[in-house]
């Protein structure tokens, strides 16, 4: 499950992520991070489901972070899509591919919700959810 963590000024100085990793013993992966002196946002991949995932989420919340579960990321409007491929190679995690018929395939599991494809689509057929 991918989680978006939103830091505020108060909790930026603390090693929240390392605390959670050492407490849960989970190999949490950072997919994207934007941290400045005042604000911070981080997209992480937590290899857990159910109770364990809840535990992770609660630990972050206790540390004062806002936690959002990223379940769906983008949606492709098949009516608008012209199967060009302009979104395919710019996808940094290769979540978008084209099949033998040049139809665009999208792998939700790989998507990190960066939005590059949304801007790359010349006919505005992709939107962020």
């Amino acid at each position: 499950m991918k989680l978006k963590l939103i830091y505020s000024r108060e909790n930026l100085g603390k090693p929240v992520l390392s605390d959670v990793i050492s407490k849960t013993n989970l190999p949490i992966n950072i997919l994207e991070a934007k941290i400045t002196l005042n604000t911070g946002e981080m997209l992480i991949d937590v290899p857990a489901i159910g109770e364990k995932l809840k535990e992770v989420s609660n630990l972050f919340q206790k540390a004062g972070l806002i936690v959002k579960e990223i379940t769906r990321t983008i949606e492709i409007d098949r009516e608008k899509c012209i199967s060009c491929g302009a979104c395919v190679s710019p996808c940094p995690v290769r979540a978008i591919t084209q099949d033998f018929n040049w139809d665009v395939d999208f792998d939700e599991q790989k998507c990190v919700g960066c939005g590059i494809c949304v801007d790359a689509c010349p006919v505005r057929a992709i939107r962020m959810l």
Binding site: I82, S83, C84, G85, A86, C87, V88, S89, P90, P122
Partner: protein, 508 residues
Amino acid sequence: MSEERGIEKIRTYEEINQKIKSGDAVVLTADEFIKAVEESGLEKATKEVDVVTTGTFGAMCSSGAFINFGHSEPPIKMFKCWLNDVPAYKGLAAVDCYIGATAMSETKGFEYGGGNVIEDLVSGKEIELRAEAYGTDCYPRRSIETTLTINDLNQAILLNPRNAYERYNAATNSTDKILYTYMGTLLPHYGNITYCGAGQLSPLYKDKGFETIGIGTRIFLGGGIGYIIGEGTQHNPQNQFGTVMVRGDLKQMNARYLRGATYNKYGTTLYVGVGIPIPIINERVAASAALRDDEIFTNILDYGVPSRSRPTVKKASYAELKSGKVQINQKEIPSSSLSSNKVAKEIALTLKNWIEQGTFLLNRPAELIPNHREIKPLEVKGREPKVRDVMTREIIVGKPNDDIKDVARTLIAKGVDHLPIVDNEGKLIGIITSWDLAKAVAQDKRQLHEIMTLKVVSAKEDEAIDTVIRRMEQHNISGVPVVDQSNHIIGILTTDDISRKLVRRVIE
């Protein structure tokens, strides 16, 4: 070429059209023709196949439509006009205009342009027309605001000065910034490759000697029937960059094959569907129509260099580009298309069906389009400011071991914001700004090397000012050190220099 170009040695247009009318014509798409040649050889396929159909569906910026609105009561000689807030060219008669694909909405900007207006017209949507005039004795009206659909127009003629590039250069990006170009989104450090053109389905590559394509050639255009009316602008056939100028009735077209589009941070355009039937009139035409993706090559250029002559990173075949990955420096780089291979196939198939049904006959061109054209660049006459004309030559530099507080004092005394850091030979190794210094003093840092930025964005003295301004914008910085070929610092160029010295030039 020993024989006359366009010689009808194997079959004539009349013979082909007779067979189309009687339902006996053998028509294959270029994909199918390639298979037939692989199975039974070029000679046999040439004998058996009358027509090969092609297709492409890509962004074609040199596209647009002539529109005649009809006369209002009282009448108007429109001086300026807008369709859905997109300005149309009005240097024509009273109620004629040309709406170009790359014109952008004055209210929505990049998100809506002339290409979208054309798509919306073809879809039958209502369009807002706004026009202004100065009023004359014969045309007293001074303004119009109304709505219309394509059915209200006397003529809506798609007339595209340059379509269906035979092939196109592919693109990649060597810089450390993401680039937004007319070749789409290019990730940093050769992160991806984008390409354009249908390769073995590309209409003009299937008759690369231009033996059957000319003025009057009947074609598939935007889902309707169109005509080639001449060579396209920038036609460069000897280098396989041929283009055609096309014309068709917008009222017959289908928005599936005419789509308004936006290239992020670049502009608006129009995806145009073009399919050209290639009559197999002689062996040379047959050989060209049989060319496969792995025999059609193009160059992958580095769009990180914002120059007319971008360096070639690699020569690649369309087969390689279409495979989705291309090797560059032992690394596998993902590649993807900007034009639609899916719709290109669909167009070639649709054109094949039209011909098989007997509704689409082939035309012998009134005149073949040229198979040779020199392409000239635009030489800008007069001297334009270069970095060396504007840069500051008296520079203050620092050394890595300089004391931060001393440096801060010097910068304040001299009133400068950028301090390039050099080694003992005067070579640029880093930079700090007054902001870095303020932060460093607050954090109790001591020497410059602790805080300097090592990746320095720099300029050369013979670069055009506009190129360097764009670079500063991209990196969100206000100054760049100027270095020579061996990275010795020779000056500094700041936004201050540019505004003071260039503005003074303009005033003088």
